[in-house]
C-alpha cells in the first residue's frame, strides 16, 4: 500500500506521542509496565496485569506474524476508495504485544494468518510516520 493516497492522519495524543516520535526515527516501540514488565499496545493508563500506572516505552524488534486478517471492501473513507479491497491485519509481535497494521508488497488474498512479517515505515507528513509491515522474506528480495 505504499502507493496509498493521503491516509487520514492520526491525531497525536499525549499518551501515544512517544510511539509517533519513535516511528519518525523508524523505530517501533510499545508500552512496558515498569512494575511487572508486561508489554501493552495501544497506550493505556494502567497495566491491566498488575494495575501499576508506572510505564515506559520499550523498543521491539518489529518482527512478528499475522495473528488475524480482514479484507475491507467498503471504502469508509475517501483515502481508501482507490485501495479497496485491502487487507488489515493484527500483527503478533515476537515480544508479545499486538499491533494493527497493513501488509505492504503483498496482494490482500496472499496475506495469511501465521505469515512472518517485519516492520517498515511510511511517512505521512512531518508529524506522523506510519509503521506498516511487509513479508519477512521480502527483506532479501
Amino acid at each position: 500500500m505504499s502507493d496509498a493516497p493521503a491516509r487520514p492522519i492520526p491525531v497525536v495524543t499525549p499518551e501515544m506521542a512517544p510511539f509517533w516520535e519513535a516511528a519518525k526515527r523508524h523505530q517501533l516501540v510499545v508500552q512496558r509496565c515498569v512494575a511487572c514488565g508486561a508489554l501493552r499496545f495501544p497506550a493505556r493508563e494502567v497495566c491491566s496485569t498488575c494495575l501499576s500506572r508506572e510505564v515506559d516505552w520499550a523498543p521491539v524488534s518489529g518482527r512478528g506474524e499475522v495473528f488475524s486478517k480482514v479484507v475491507m471492501h467498503q471504502a469508509n473513507h475517501p483515502a481508501f476508495a482507490a485501495l479497496a479491497p485491502y487487507a488489515v491485519v493484527v500483527v503478533q509481535l515476537e515480544e508479545g504485544a499486538r499491533i494493527m497494521s497493513n501488509v505492504t508488497g503483498c496482494a490482500p488474498a496472499d496475506v495469511h494468518i501465521g505469515m512472518a512479517v517485519e516492520v517498515t515505515f511510511q511517512p505521512l507528513d512531518d508529524t506522523v510516520t506510519l509503521p506498516l509491515f511487509r513479508p519477512t522474506s521480502s527483506k532479501n528480495g
Binding site: I9, S68, N76, A79, V88
Partner: protein
C-alpha cells in the same frame, strides 16, 4: 435438591413490537413510547400499573446517560420504584429482565417495563440532496483509521478469521446460518426480509462487506421499538395473555481478547441459568440466540454445548437449524432476517413461540425456550430460560 426459589417467580406478561425497519416519523424516544403502549395493551395493563422502567437506549438516543428518566417523562409515568438506563450492548435485553425479576422477587417493584428502541435509518433523501463534506470523516482520527480499519463489522471479522483459521470454519458454513434463518423469516410477516428467499448460491454471490463477511453474514439495521412487561407469576396469570415464566437466568462477561478465546460469555452464563431452571439442553424446544453475525450464532451454539467447540460450522451446515431441523433456532429469522432490536429480537421471538402465536413459523412443541444476548465483540453475554409452564 428443591426447586430454585426464583424459578417461575416472575413472568413476562406483555410484549410490544412497533413496526420495524424502514419506518420513519419519530425518534428513539417516540418508538420507545409506542412499544410500551403496545406492551401495556398486550398485557391488559394501564400505564399507571407500571412501577418500574428499565431502558436500553439505542445509538441514536440523545440521552445515553439518563434515558430512562427521559422516557419516564415522555410516558408521563409517576411514582416509579425502580428505574435504570442500562447498556451491555446486545446483552442488555436479557439483563434488563434479570433486574426486573430480582426487583419483583424482592418486592421493590411489581410491574416493570423493559424497553429498547433506536432510529438509525433516515428517510431517503430527495434527488441531489446528498451531502458530501470532509467534515463527515471527523471520526477517522484514531490509530486504526490510518490503516483503513473501520466499524464493528471489521472487529467481528477479525475474530471470525481466527475461528476459521483455528477450526477450519468455512464461508459456506457461515452461509448455512444465513440461509436457515431466512427460511424461518418466510413464516414471519414482521420480518423485514420475509418475502426475500435466500439460497446458499445467493449468499455466495452477495457482496463482501469485510472478508470473511458477506452482506448476508451481517444483521439488519432497523428503526423501531420493543418492550416487554415483567410482573409476578401470580399477577401474570390474571392478565390478558398467557404468562411466559422466567425459569432461569445468567450472565457471563469474559474480558480479555475474544480473538484468543474464540468464546462467548455463554460458557459462564450457562450453568447458573440451567441450574436455576433445573433443566438441561435436551429439555429445550425453542432456541433464540443472539445473531449480530452468522459467526455469533456458531460460537454461541458451541458455547452452550449444542456441538463441540469448533464444530459450530459443521453443525449449521448439516441443516439442523432451519424449519424442520432438529433444533428450532432463531425461528423468526433473527436479526439477520427479521429486525435488529439488539437483544430484544430473540427475547420477543421466544415469547411469541411460547405463547403459540408464531403462525406459519410456530414450533409444534413450545414449552421451554433459551434466549441469549451478546454485546460488544463477544464482550458481554446474558441469557434467559423461559417457559409457558409455571413449573
Amino acid at each position: 435438591m428443591g426447586a430454585h426459589p426464583l424459578r417461575g417467580a416472575a413472568a413476562i406478561a406483555g410484549l410490544g413490537i412497533t413496526p420495524q425497519g424502514k419506518v420513519y416519523g419519530t425518534n428513539g424516544v417516540g418508538f420507545a413510547v409506542d412499544a410500551v403502549r403496545l406492551a401495556l395493551e398486550d398485557a391488559g395493563l394501564e400505564k399507571s400499573d407500571l412501577d418500574g422502567l428499565l431502558v436500553n437506549p439505542g445509538l441514536t438516543w440523545n440521552d445515553q446517560g439518563m434515558g430512562s428518566f427521559q422516557l419516564q417523562q415522555a410516558l408521563g409515568l409517576r411514582d416509579l420504584r425502580l428505574t435504570a438506563t442500562m447498556n451491555l450492548g446486545g446483552a442488555t435485553a436479557c439483563a434488563m429482565i434479570h433486574q426486573a425479576v430480582l426487583a419483583i422477587a424482592s418486592g421493590m417493584a411489581t410491574a416493570v417495563a423493559c424497553v429498547f428502541s433506536d432510529a438509525p435509518l433516515k428517510p431517503p433523501a430527495p434527488d441531489g440532496a446528498r451531502k458530501s463534506s470532509g467534515a463527515a470523516y471527523g471520526f477517522a482520527r484514531g490509530f486504526e483509521a490510518a490503516y483503513g480499519f473501520f466499524g464493528v463489522n471489521a472487529m467481528y471479522a477479525l475474530v471470525t478469521s481466527r475461528h476459521m483459521h483455528r477450526f477450519g470454519t468455512t464461508h459456506d458454513q457461515l452461509g448455512a446460518v444465513a440461509v436457515a434463518q431466512r427460511r424461518w423469516a418466510a413464516g414471519n410477516p414482521q420480518a423485514q426480509l420475509h418475502d426475500k428467499p435466500l439460497t446458499l448460491d445467493d449468499y455466495r454471490a452477495s457482496r463482501w462487506i469485510v472478508e470473511p463477511f458477506h452482506l448476508f453474514d451481517c444483521c439488519l439495521v432497523s428503526n423501531g421499538g420493543l418492550a416487554v412487561i415483567v410482573t409476578s407469576a401470580d399477577r401474570a396469570r390474571t392478565l390478558r395473555k398467557p404468562p411466559v415464566y422466567v425459569w432461569g437466568m445468567g450472565q457471563g462477561h469474559m474480558g480479555g481478547d475474544p480473538a484468543d478465546s474464540l468464546t462467548s460469555g455463554a460458557v459462564l452464563a450457562k450453568k447458573p441459568a440451567f441450574d436455576m431452571a433445573g433443566i438441561g439442553l435436551a429439555d429445550l424446544d425453542v432456541v433464540e440466540l443472539y445473531d449480530c453475525y452468522t459467526f455469533t450464532v456458531l460460537v454461541t451454539l458451541e458455547d452452550y454445548g449444542f456441538c463441540a467447540k469448533g464444530e459450530g460450522g459443521p453443525f449449521a451446515a448439516e441443516a439442523h437449524t432451519g424449519p424442520g431441523g432438529k433444533l428450532a433456532l432463531n425461528t423468526g429469522g433473527g436479526q439477520l432476517s427479521s429486525f435488529y432490536m439488539w437483544g430484544m429480537t430473540p427475547v420477543s421471538e421466544a415469547i411469541i413461540q411460547l405463547r403459540g402465536e408464531g403462525g406459519a413459523r410456530q414450533v409444534a412443541k413450545h414449552d421451554v425456550a433459551l434466549v441469549s444476548g451478546n454485546g460488544g465483540v463477544l464482550s458481554t453475554h446474558s441469557n434467559l430460560i423461559l417457559s409457558r409452564l409455571p413449573s
